[in-house]
Amino acid sequence: MTWDIHFQPIPEDQVRGFKTFTFGFRAALVVTGYQMLINRWFKTFFTPKGSELLHSGDGTTLAGLIGGNIGSQESARDLAIRAVEETNEQIKAQDVAGGFEEQESLESAVITRMAPQSEGGLAIWVTIKNVAGKQLEIHLIDLATR
């Protein structure tokens, strides 16, 4: 089993500008297994499409909305659904190319809840399941599980 470097969301009240992730406030951590899959899915989901130097197809169009106001909740929902599908396709392609273990490989990721926010935002919960059968419902954007 290999490890990756762990990152986590910056608490909502500490977000400044467009920086939304951090290695942590002390030393960086390593991450393995199912959490590594979640990190990978999560990073891909929030990568604006076209921002990768070498692989411009990576990422989703939804990431472009971060920091903006949502005018149409319906459109945002459609984008979110599409972004999840794009992320799943890319993660599964990575799984095949990289030879990840079962704990690190994606079985499925589906939106289980979406709720408009009073300040014009949209809260999304995604259930991510690995090939080994482990799954969690995760709140985007803070990765909270409840």
Binding site: W3, D4, N39, K43, H55, Q90, I91, G98, G99
Partner: protein, 716 residues
């Protein structure tokens, strides 16, 4: 070897290659970490360094390319990178350097409002346009134009407009951008105030073609021959050495022993019926840029031979001063060709006997092949001598003024006006009506002029210049004086090269004669000005090949220019019906002359080539009518052979090449050909015999022209 960052090319493929390499390398060394797509480690440890890695790899590749001639050749062939500096650095390992371009030259006409002596500082700038400047092509500062060099300029009604002087100019920089069609200078700027009375300057003939700095492809091609021994020992090494040392040298051809053009090593004086090529001599024919020069000489004066051969003996004290002069030709002296002059003391290797080959009243000549060892008149030593026919003393001829004197010391004349005549052994020669030019190639003579005619010669004076102009070049001696009123266009001069086998070199003894038959000394003691075209900077490589340190010790190497063939043509044309402008004939003439001068010497230039080139240069032209090409070969002996052709330009009269020799009857047949029974040069065989005698072939001639010799005329 630093690589200019702007010259480092990084492609997207380099990024992918860099990514693959870094992933592989890191995965191999840090096996427990994940560097797969989508991982954060890949972002930080791979993607972030891809740019740097690809850049460094591009630089490394750039350095690799610049380390060998082979890889440089491949890259230069692609033409994507500027590798000039890198190529220079690599080739410097073999001491091969890029050749600089050469400079365009021209003769400009400066117009002045008054006829006065003009002094011009050589820093004066003649601006041909806003970015191209020319300077006066002389080494002495300031440049002085004497009032005698200013010629009146008249309009069509005969009214005096201004005065004109020719000035040789050289471009301020190298490159073909300085080649200009005839035109006017936009400004003439001096740092020392205005040039007095100057109104404007122009040039009526296009400036000479100039070359740019050598490009890398040419430098590479040349470098292949650069690894020869850097001596002047064979065609390849001569070419490399001269081109490397002198950027003015554009091309070379070396002729050596056994080649038909090598006649300089032929010895015929060893014995009758013996013609022996002794070897040890070779000629290198070079191409260099033109330069127009002027020379002044006192007609009938004593001039040193440029080839430094000391073969004249004089004793003016007895041949000039006596009431009854002792003339060498006096039958009472019993002197004959074949007798001996015995130099007893005074010069190197004396006593030594020299065979007399020619006897004049005041001069004895010995063979040019076995000349005197020193010129006593230049060494300022006295020469003791005797003349006779019996060995070992050779003192049978009585030498006056004291009866019974058979040995004496040659001395200068004591008669006023004759003191300047050299005494003893000498390389100074003199003959009536002549001056000697300096030793250098003479490619074309543009003006021959007596600048200070006496009142007795008023019938020959050109009223527009106040001087005597000699427009006609003749092969034999100039004829009798023309009748009054004199047709000034018939006044002629002769250029004779006394040593044809050394012609077009620094050793060339070129004798210019003006005067008339039976009046050879008519213009003696007057000043003759000769304007001619030679090679710019010719003496530098020529001196190099003969210098003590660089010459081949066991050989006689001579630098020469090819024998010129000057081409003239008038091209008749018709404009297209759709042409909306008339033809800029001056510009086309310049282009045509450049085309001819740069024509591949290995190819046959013909009428068709000129027609095609003319149409290419002039898009307005609808048709080019048939025309003839006239051309003049300036032979090594100074004679001019005139040809015309309707087809191929050639010096040979082969069947079907359309070539016709126009002045065969005027060509003076050399004595050696007369001895073979040839009395006229008119056929292909006699012409070829003449060429062989002088070492002329297609290889040693150069077809040339100037823009004023190629004209066009609208017909139909």
């Amino acid at each position: 070897m630093p690589v200019d960052p702007s010259q480092i090319i990084v492609t997207s493929q380099d990024f992918y290659d860099a990514e693959d390499f870094l992933v592989e390398y890191l995965s191999e060394n840090i096996t427990e970490a994940s560097f797969e797509r989508g991982s954060a480690m890949r972002d930080f440890a791979v993607s972030a360094f891809v740019l740097i890695y690809a850049y460094l790899r591009g630089e490394a590749n750039g350095i690799r390319v610049r380390q060998s001639v082979q890889s440089l050749t491949e890259e230069i062939g692609k033409g994507t990178l500027d590798l000039d500096q890198s190529l220079d650095q690599v080739l410097s390992n073999w001491f091969v350097t890029r050749r600089e371009g050469n400079k365009s030259r021209m003769t400009a006409q400066a117009h002045f409002s008054k006829k006065e002596n003009i002094t011009i500082n050589t820093s004066t700038v003649f601006w041909r346009d806003v970015s191209h400047a020319f300077y006066i092509d002389v080494s002495t500062n300031p440049y002085v134009i004497s009032s005698t060099s200013l010629f009146p300029n008249f309009d069509s009604r005969g009214n005096l407009i201004d005065y004109v002087a020719d000035i040789s100019l050289v471009a301020g920089g190298v490159g073909s951008g300085y080649s200009f069609s005839p035109g006017r200078f936009t400004r003439v700027v001096t740092t020392t105030g205005n040039i007095p009375n100057l109104t404007y300057a122009e040039h009526s003939v296009a400036s000479t073609a100039a070359t740019n700095d050598e490009d890398s492809a040419t430098l590479l091609a040349r470098s292949q021959t650069a690894i020869a021994v850097r001596n002047l020992i064979n065609n390849r090494s001569v070419d490399t050495t001269l081109k490397e040392s002198f950027s003015d040298v554009e091309s070379t051809l070396t002729i050596g022993m056994g080649e038909q053009e090598m006649q300089r090593d032929l010895r015929t004086e060893l014995g009758s019926h013996i013609k022996l090529h002794i070897g040890g001599k070779y000629d290198t024919f070079v191409e260099m840029a033109d330069q127009t020069v002027e020379e002044f000489g006192l007609v009938g004066g004593y001039f040193p031979r440029a080839d430094k051969i000391v073969n004249v003996f004089r004793d003016p004290e007895i041949t000039r001063d006596l009431v009854s002069p002792y003339l060498f030709t006096d039958v009472a002296r019993h002197l004959e060709v074949g007798h001996i002059i015995n130099i007893r003391t005074g010069i190197l290797e004396s006593p030594r006997a020299y065979q007399i080959i020619r006897i004049e009243d005041h001069e004895l000549y010995v063979s040019e092949a076995m000349p005197f060892t020193e010129a006593s008149d230049e060494e300022d030593v006295s020469v003791s001598y005797s003349i006779g026919w019996f060995s070992p003393d050779f003192d049978q001829s009585e030498l006056e003024p004291i009866a019974g004197t058979y040995v004496r010391t040659a001395a200068r004349s004591a008669v006023a006006g004759l003191e300047h005549i050299p005494a003893g052994t000498s390389r100074h020669i003199q003959s009536p009506g002549t001056i000697l030019l300096e030793g250098r190639p003479v490619q074309d003579i543009t003006r021959v002029e007596l600048i200070d005619p006496s009142g007795a010669d008023s019938n020959f004076i050109d009223p527009t210049t106040g001087t005597i102009l000699f427009p006609q070049r003749v092969n034999g001696l100039p004829g009798v004086a023309p009748p009054v009123p004199v047709d000034l266009s018939t006044l002629s001069y002769q250029l004779e090269v006394l040593n044809p086998r050394e012609s077009q070199s620094e050793l060339s003894v070129s004798r210019m004669m003006v005067g008339f038959e039976a009046e050879e000394a008519r213009f003696d003691d007057r000043t003759l000005r000769v304007t001619y075209i030679t090679a710019a900077g010719f003496s530098n490589p020529s001196d190099y090949t003969r210098s003590y340190d660089d010459r081949v010790v066991a050989a006689d190497h001579l630098l020469r220019m090819r024998h010129p063939i000057w081409i003239e043509a008038v091209i008749p044309y018709r404009l297209k019906r759709t042409a909306d402008t008339s033809l800029a004939e001056v510009d086309v003439s310049t282009q045509m002359s450049n085309y001819i001068n740069s024509f591949d010497p290995n190819d046959d230039l013909d009428v068709s080539d000129l027609s095609t080139a003319f149409r290419n240069f002039a898009s307005e032209v609808g048709a080019v009518f048939t025309f003839e090409i006239y051309y003049n070969l300036y032979a090594p002996d100074g004679q001019v052979a005139k040809f015309k052709t309707t087809d191929i330009i050639s010096i040979y009269l082969t069947t079907g090449n359309g070539v016709e020799l126009l002045n065969g009857s005027e060509i003076q047949v050399p004595p050696t050909m007369i001895a073979k029974g040839i009395t006229e040069i008119s056929t292909d065989s006699t012409l070829t015999e003449w060429y062989n005698l002088m070492g002329i072939s297609d290889k040693t001639v150069k077809y040339r022209t100037r823009s004023d010799l190629i004209n066009s005329v609208l017909q139909g």
